[in-house]
């Protein structure tokens, strides 16, 4: 699509110090264009999840530079990073991680309420819209912990989408789902990337899932070996 960079990593290094100092990421540099659907693959322990958490701005303990929407994210305060995550990054985890005390609808609404750009009513309408898109609008008023795993994951994706983030990151988003639900999630991601220009970066073990995406970044021993 456009040539705007959604995300740029340059020279990212990270060491683990426990029990001995061990380089987990070695000089990682790559660029992601707006609207790209990227899968990061590699064996367990190759550092792909670690990289994803750095890209998501949650992990700030690294060397190198990270740009999100062409703005430098490295060196910002934790509160500024939280604001960036809130507005520009949607996150889907392997486990749904919904807030069990709230209804599904509230779970989806919370990031938008935090952002505070829309009125309560508008947020509610938008949340319904997202739930409908994922086919779980009939579960909206149930408590989050009363749903099946596949439904919960779809609620979690709706939550990641509510603020129309520029980048959606997934840490094995289909890792806990059966093939039917995996397909739904994949189609969803593809539609977001191709029709709505949202950038998708997922870490996955799922070969099928990876091969269907636009670009695969393969990692081994903390370095990018392909992509």
């Amino acid at each position: 699509m456009d040539n705007i960079l959604a995300l740029k990593a340059s020279g990212i290094n990270k060491d683990f110090h426990d029990p001995v100092t061990f380089p987990v990421l070695k000089n990682i540099s790559f660029e992601v264009k707006k609207g790209e659907f990227i899968s990061i693959v590699g064996k367990s322990g190759c550092g792909k999840s670690t990289l994803l958490y750095i890209l998501s701005t949650m992990d700030t303990d690294y060397q190198g530079e990270l740009f999100i929407n062409e703005k430098k994210a490295t060196g910002l305060s934790l509160n500024e990073l939280a604001a960036i995550r809130n507005a520009s990054i949607g996150f889907v985890f392997q486990f749904h991680y919904l807030l069990p005390d709230f209804t599904c609808l509230k779970n989806v609404m919370i990031p938008a309420l935090r952002l505070g750009k829309l009125s309560y009513k508008e947020v509610e309408d938008k949340a319904y819209e997202k739930l409908k898109m994922l086919g779980v609008e009939d579960q909206a008023l149930k408590r989050a912990d009363k749903l099946s795993g596949g439904q919960q994951q779809r609620i979690a994706i709706a939550r990641a989408l509510i603020n129309d983030p520029a980048i959606i990151m997934g840490d094995e988003p289909t890792g806990n789902l059966d093939s039917k639900n995996s397909k739904i999630v994949f189609d969803m991601f593809q539609e977001l990337a191709h029709n709505f220009g949202q950038t998708i970066i997922t870490v996955t073990h799922d070969e099928d899932f990876a091969h269907k995406s636009d670009r695969i970044i393969e990692m081994s021993d903390g370095a990018i070996i392909k992509g």
Binding site: Y53, N79, R85, N86, L98
Partner: protein, 414 residues
């Protein structure tokens, strides 16, 4: 009304764990209701004793103090301190009492703080009835003024104190005197002063204060009668009693009157130092008890919030992952603490008031004290809520701070 998302999350967490919330709020409630109860009891008791002391002590007592002669007037006059005055080292008796007492009173009344002024003649006397003798003192007063200042009516056991103005040689005696000399209203009693001749007086009434020593020694008569008893003229006055509009100003007004008249003006604070000491001791005891209660309540809240944070650590991580700043997380948990504090506070106010009210209906019946003295003083209730909220804020701050430091990466990646 638009409530912020932090508030909404805080309220949801509180209502999702009702039992724990209620227990934490109950801790605060006990703290606050005890605070109110204790403060009410303390203030009630203090007020009672203060009022009680004013039943017998005026705000300011002006009297002529016996002094050793000194040379300051002579030195001022001669402007030469080398002159020495040879004096008798014993104190001189100021037999004349206050000179020109009515002139002095006239001057005192000009002070806008002064509410009531009354002259008094006091004398040490011996009461005799049959063959039994009893030493004591008699106060010659204007009984109407005395009642206005000291509420004599509330101490009357029987008889009518107005008879002091109507009955020739009437005397109002304390219950202790009446018991010891087995006297009743209408009986006669012989009163002998140091300087005059014995006089037979008629008991017109009996009073009782809460102070046994006063009941056993003090009697009242018309001021003219006591002047007669002492063989003095109508201008003989030993004390001038002054009540003020606000007794808290007594020390300062006493100094003014002392400077104005040259006589010793003793304020009630000086006369009741042991009372003040008792107030202070009571305050220390009660405040430490309240402090402990609030501390325990605070630990309750601390504990419960801490547990919440352990339980919710994943959810805190998620909130941070979806863009809640550390500040928002602090706000979520601190708000929970404040709502617990407010809930406990308001219920505590109601319970505190109820306990205070119920205790104030407990019959005591000691002396003139019929019921436990409790005060219903609004600032206590405001203070209680402030203290409660402060305690909960302090107790909530540390768990909240801890929650804000949760590292989402560590928690989510496990």
């Amino acid at each position: 009304m638009k409530i912020s998302v932090n508030t909404e999350i805080a309220l949801t967490y509180l209502s999702a764990r009702k039992k724990q919330t209620i227990i934490a709020a109950m801790g605060v409630m006990f703290g606050i209701s005890m605070f109110i109860f204790m403060q009410s009891l303390m203030k009630g008791t203090n007020d009672y004793f203060e009022k009680q002391s004013f039943n017998t002590t005026p705000h300011i007592r002006l009297y002529s103090e016996n002094k050793v002669a000194d040379n300051h007037i002579m030195v001022t006059f001669l402007k030469d301190p080398s002159y020495k005055l040879l004096t008798n080292p014993k104190q001189l008796i100021q037999t004349q009492g206050i000179i020109n007492p009515y002139g002095v009173i006239h001057e005192i009344v000009k002070n806008p703080q002064v509410y009531a002024v009354t002259p008094q003649v006091t004398a040490n006397v011996i009461y005799t009835s049959g063959s039994v003798q009893l030493t004591g003192n008699i106060a010659g007063v204007s009984i109407i003024e005395e009642d206005r200042m000291f509420d004599m009516q509330s101490n009357m056991l029987n008889g009518d104190f107005h008879d002091l103005d109507r009955v020739n040689n009437g005397i109002l005696i304390g219950k202790g005197i009446a018991d010891k000399l087995s006297l009743h209203t209408g009986d006669n009693i012989t009163v002998t002063s140091g300087t005059g001749s014995p006089t037979i007086m008629k008991v017109i009434g009996i009073y009782a204060t809460t102070v046994k020593q006063i009941d056993e020694t003090k009697s009242y008569a018309n001021i003219i009668q006591v002047q007669n008893l002492l063989g003095k003229d109508r201008s003989y006055v030993t004390d001038i009693k002054i009540n003020l509009r606000d007794y808290n100003n007594a020390p300062q007004v006493a100094r003014e009157i002392e400077t104005l008249t040259g006589y010793k003006a003793e304020d009630w604070v000086q006369a009741n130092e042991q009372l003040k000491a008792a107030f202070k001791i009571r305050a220390v005891i009660l405040n430490s008890v309240i402090g402990v209660i609030l501390l325990v309540a605070g630990f309750g809240i601390y504990n419960i919030l801490n547990m919440t944070i352990y339980e919710k650590i994943k959810e805190i991580a998620i909130l941070k992952a979806i863009g809640f700043s550390g500040r928002s997380v602090i706000s979520i948990f601190l708000q929970q603490a404040v709502y617990i504090g407010l809930m406990g506070g308001f219920v505590g106010i109601v319970i505190g008031f109820s306990i205070t009210y119920m205790v104030s209906r407990i019959y005591i019946g000691a002396g003139t004290l019929k019921y436990l003295p409790m005060s219903f003083y609004v600032p206590h209730y405001i203070e209680a809520v402030c203290f409660g909220v402060l305690t909960t804020l302090a107790a909530g701050y540390f768990p909240a701070k801890k929650a804000s430091r949760v590292d989402p990466v560590k928690i989510i990646r496990g």
